[in-house]
Symmetry: C2
Subunit: 86 residues, 2 copies
């Protein structure tokens, strides 16, 4: 792994962890009305396609970071649907 | 440009356009309290690093899609700061 790969992992780490404060905020406040389900739905789908792209290009930073991002954003999709019902 | 590049552009397009419904929602409702500034701040920074990674790898789909994403998410950062004040 060279320094470019490490930069890719760092970039992916920033994008990936960025969703955590949003997950925590929604979990604490239970408020999701201002948040767009369309955004997190499309984002989660796009991340799944990024994972396929990473596999086809054998690009490890893309595969790893987008897989974790995918899980986090899927959690957001679940939270939005769950708390919107309440 | 081969089919893998096209897949990458498609993945990036999904992730990129995903923010549009959120921008529209905030613009219409002016409500940002449920939205995390930390999320969009960290995301925007991470996208900037992805652009650098794409340049170093000469990976066109990464450069193009993350540049557009960067602009959209910077708009969200501006909206959150602007409407939180009001």
């Amino acid at each position: 792994m060279n320094y470019v790969d490490i930069l890719g992992l760092f970039a992916g780490a920033c994008v990936t962890i960025s969703v955590i404060p949003q997950i925590v905020k929604v979990y604490k406040t239970k408020k999701v009305r201002a948040i767009s389900l369309k955004m997190f739905g499309t984002l989660t789908f796009g991340l799944a396609v990024w994972i396929v792209y990473g596999i086809l290009k054998s690009d490890l930073p893309i595969i790893i970071t987008n897989s974790v991002s995918f899980c986090f954003n899927l959690t957001m999709v679940y939270f939005i649907i769950y708390y919107e019902k309440e």
